[in-house]
Amino acid sequence: MSLDRLKNCFERCAAENRAALVGYLTAGDPNPAASEKLLDVLASHVDIVEIGMPFSDPMADGPTIQAASERALAAGTRMRDVFHIALSVRKAHPAAGIVLMGYANVAFAMGYEYFAEQAALAGVDGVLIVDIPPEEAGDFTRALKAHKLCGIRLVAPTSSTARRKLAAEIADGFIYYVSLNGITGAEMGEISEIRTQVDALRQQAKLPICVGFGIKTPEQAHAVAAFSDGVVIGSHFVNCITAHEDNEPAMLSELDKTCAAMRAAMRKGGVGED
C-alpha cells in the first residue's frame, strides 16, 4: 500500500513532466489544532507531505526547524497528536504521500514495532529518521517492513560510493539527497555540483531521488526540479508559521501562497532552465 502510494506520486509527476514537491512542516507547530489545518493546506499543494515529529534535541536542524520543534513541544504536542494529524491528512488527501521525519529517540522510546504499527494505522507511507544510519537500522527497518512502510534513506555529499550503494540497496520509496554538508535551513550548495551528484547517484539507485536542504526560492526549486524527481522544501514553509506568530489565518494564507509558488516551480524545463 504505502510503497505503492509513493511510487504512484512520482509516476504521476513524471507523467506531468514535473518534479514532485515534498513539503515539510513540524507536527504540532505552533499547536496541534493549528498544525492540523496547516498540514491540510500543505497537503493540498504538495505531492508528498513530510510530517516532522518534534524532538527536544533536533541536532540536524537549523534554527527555523529547531524553533518549530520547541513551539510544538511547548504546546504539549505528543506522538498521538502527530499520528492524529497524519491520519487527518490521509483522510482528506487519499493520494498524497505521507512521510514521517524525525529523530531516533522518539521512535525508540515507543518501541520500533509499536511506532511502525501506529504510523501505518495513521496512513503514513514512509519514515525518515535522521540519526538511524543503515549501520544501526536493522531492527528499525524490520519493523517498518512488517508494516509495509518505506524506509527513506539519506545520501549526503560526504557519503562514500560504498555508502551510496548501500543506501540504494536498502532504501524504499525514494532517496533523499542532502544538497549540502550542513543543517536544514542553511544556504543551498552549488546547483551544478548537486546536479553532478544526483546524476551520478542515478547510476547506483533505481529509486526516485529527491533533493533537499536549503532550498528557499521558487527559482532554486525550479533549478533543482530540472534534474531531480522531487524537491524538498522545509524551513521555507515553516517560516510561514514563524512570520505570523499567533495569527492563524495569516499563517494559513501565507502558507497557501508559498506552496502554490513552489508547486508552480516544479515543472521541468521553462524559465528556470534557461
Binding site: 524532538f55 527536544s56 533536533p58 540536524a60 505528543r78 522510546a109 555529499p157 560526504t158
Partner: protein
C-alpha cells in the same frame, strides 16, 4: 606503567553490548569512518604514542600523584581513602588527557580547526589550551546560561585565543552546546575536528576518549602497588558523561576490585532536578549513541539539574551503561548538599579544594568507607580542582547563611 592494548573493545560498529553505536546523520558517517580509521592507525603508531606520552608528562604533568588522605581516613574511621590527583593536571582536571589525544589526532589528520562543546568550561578550557599549543583555530560552544555561571572559564578560553559561541537553543546548557557543535561539524567536517569532551557521542568517540583517559587508572594501579604494595578494594568516580570514571575504572576492570560510579542526585531523585541517568533513566538514543538517558515517556530529553555544571548532562557514556547492565559497575548517587559537604570536608581535612564534580565521588566514598575496615582501601578519582567552583560555593554559603 602505561600500556597500549585496547582492552574490552566494542564491536566493529562501536557497540558495547548493544550500547553505543553510530547514531549519526548521514553527513557525519563519512567523517566518522575517517576518524575511526585515523584513530586506530595512530594508536598503532609508536611515534604518535610517544608524542602523546611526552605531552601528557611534560605538558600536562602526568603521572598525577596518588595521595593517601590520612587525616580524612582517620576521621571517618573506615577504609583508607586514597585520592588520584587529577586536580593537579594542567588546566585543573583530567579533561586535558583527552584533548591532548584528540588534538594530536586532529593534527595528524591535517585539520586546522577544532571545535568543542563545554558545560562547566573545563573541557572548553582544555580544548582551547591544546589548540593554542598546536596553533589551531578553536571555537567552543557553550550554553548562554553556563557562560553566565562560569564566567572565569569563558575568559580563560578567550585568553587562550578561542572563540566562545553562546548557545541559546533548548535549555541553553551542555546538551544544547553539544547539539550546536554537532551542527557546526556537519557543515565543517572537511577542515574541522570535533573534540568531544567525554566518553559519549558516536563511535569511535566513546572508545577514543576512554583510551585517552586510561592513563589515570593505569597510573593509579601501578602507584597503588608501588606505594602500598597492594591494589585497592574499591574504586570510585563521579559520572557526568563518564570520562574520568572510565579513565580510572577501566584499567581495573579485570581486577578483583569493586567499581563504583557516582551520579548527581541534584535536589533529590524524586523529582526531575537531578542528572542521574543510570539510576533514574532508561536506554535511549542521543548525541550519536544508544545509552541511558533522562527522558520523558515519549523520548523527549529532560532538563537536568546538578550543582556541578560538569555533571549536568542527561546521558552517560555507553560503555558505562553496558558495564552497569553487566553488573560490573555499582551505582551510588550524591545530591547537591552531600557534594557541598564533601567539598568542605576535604578542604578542611586535607587542604585540597575538590571540584564539585569530584565532590560527588568523595561524598559517596566517605559513606562507603565508613562501612569498610581500616585495612581496606578505597581509591577515589579526584577528577578536578575546585577553584572553578568558588563562585558557586560562595553563593551557596551566602544563601545558607540567610
Amino acid at each position: 606503567m602505561y600500556d597500549f592494548e585496547i582492552r574490552h573493545p566494542p564491536d566493529a560498529g562501536g557497540h558495547f553490548n548493544g550500547f553505543g553505536g553510530k547514531y549519526a546523520a548521514e553527513t557525519l558517517m563519512g567523517p566518522l569512518a575517517e576518524l575511526e580509521a585515523a584513530f586506530y592507525a595512530s594508536w598503532e603508531d609508536p611515534e604518535f604514542q610517544a608524542e602523546r606520552l611526552r605531552l601528557l608528562q611534560q605538558y600536562a604533568g602526568r603521572p598525577t600523584p596518588l595521595y593517601h588522605a590520612r587525616r580524612l581516613s582517620e576521621e571517618i574511621g573506615g577504609a583508607q581513602i586514597v585520592l588520584k590527583r587529577e586536580d593537579l593536571a594542567h588546566t585543573g582536571a583530567h579533561k586535558i588527557n583527552n584533548t591532548i589525544g584528540q588534538a594530536l589526532l586532529a593534527k595528524r589528520m591535517g585539520k586546522k580547526r577544532v571545535i568543542a562543546e563545554t558545560g562547566a568550561g573545563q573541557h572548553g578550557v582544555a580544548s582551547a589550551t591544546v589548540a593554542a599549543m598546536f596553533d589551531m583555530q578553536c571555537d567552543v560552544y557553550m550554553g548562554r546560561e553556563d557562560m553566565r555561571r562560569q564566567a572565569p572559564n569563558v575568559f580563560r578560553m578567550e585568553l587562550l585565543g578561542a572563540r566562545v559561541i553562546p548557545v541559546d537553543s533548548g535549555t541553553a546548557t551542555l546538551k544544547d552546546a553539544l547539539n550546536e557543535a554537532l551542527r557546526d561539524w556537519v557543515a565543517s567536517c572537511e577542515n574541522t575536528f570535533y573534540i568531544i569532551g567525554t566518553v559519549a557521542g558516536p563511535h569511535p568517540y566513546p572508545l577514543m576518549v576512554r583510551q585517552y583517559h586510561v592513563v589515570i587508572g593505569q597510573e593509579a594501579r601501578a602507584q597503588s602497588l608501588e606505594q602500598f604494595g597492594r591494589l585497592p578494594d574499591m574504586a570510585i568516580a563521579c559520572v557526568g558523561g563518564g570520562s574520568n570514571a572510565m579513565g580510572l575504572l577501566h584499567p581495573l576492570r579485570d581486577d578483583d576490585i569493586r567499581l563504583v560510579a557516582v551520579e548527581p542526585a541534584g535536589y533529590g531523585l524524586d523529582g526531575d532536578d537531578h542528572a542521574a541517568s543510570l539510576a533514574a533513566g532508561r536506554p535511549g538514543i542521543l548525541h550519536g549513541n544508544l545509552t541511558y538517558l533522562l527522558e520523558d515517556d515519549e523520548g523527549q530529553i529532560k532538563g537536568t539539574h546538578s550543582i556541578s555544571a560538569g555533571l549536568d548532562y542527561p546521558g552517560v557514556g555507553p560503555e558505562l551503561a553496558a558495564m552497569y547492565e553487566a553488573g560490573r559497575l555499582e551505582l551510588e548517587t550524591a545530591d547537591d548538599n552531600e557534594a557541598l559537604q564533601a567539598f568542605s570536608r576535604l578542604s578542611l581535612c586535607e587542604g585540597i579544594l575538590p571540584a564539585l564534580e569530584s565532590s560527588h565521588a568523595l561524598a559517596a566514598a566517605m559513606r562507603l568507607a565508613a562501612k569498610m575496615k581500616p585495612e581496606q582501601m578505597l581509591l577515589v578519582n579526584l577528577s578536578g580542582r575546585g577553584d572553578k567552583d568558588l563562585d558557586t560555593v560562595m553563593q551557596k554559603t551566602k544563601e545558607d547563611a540567610t
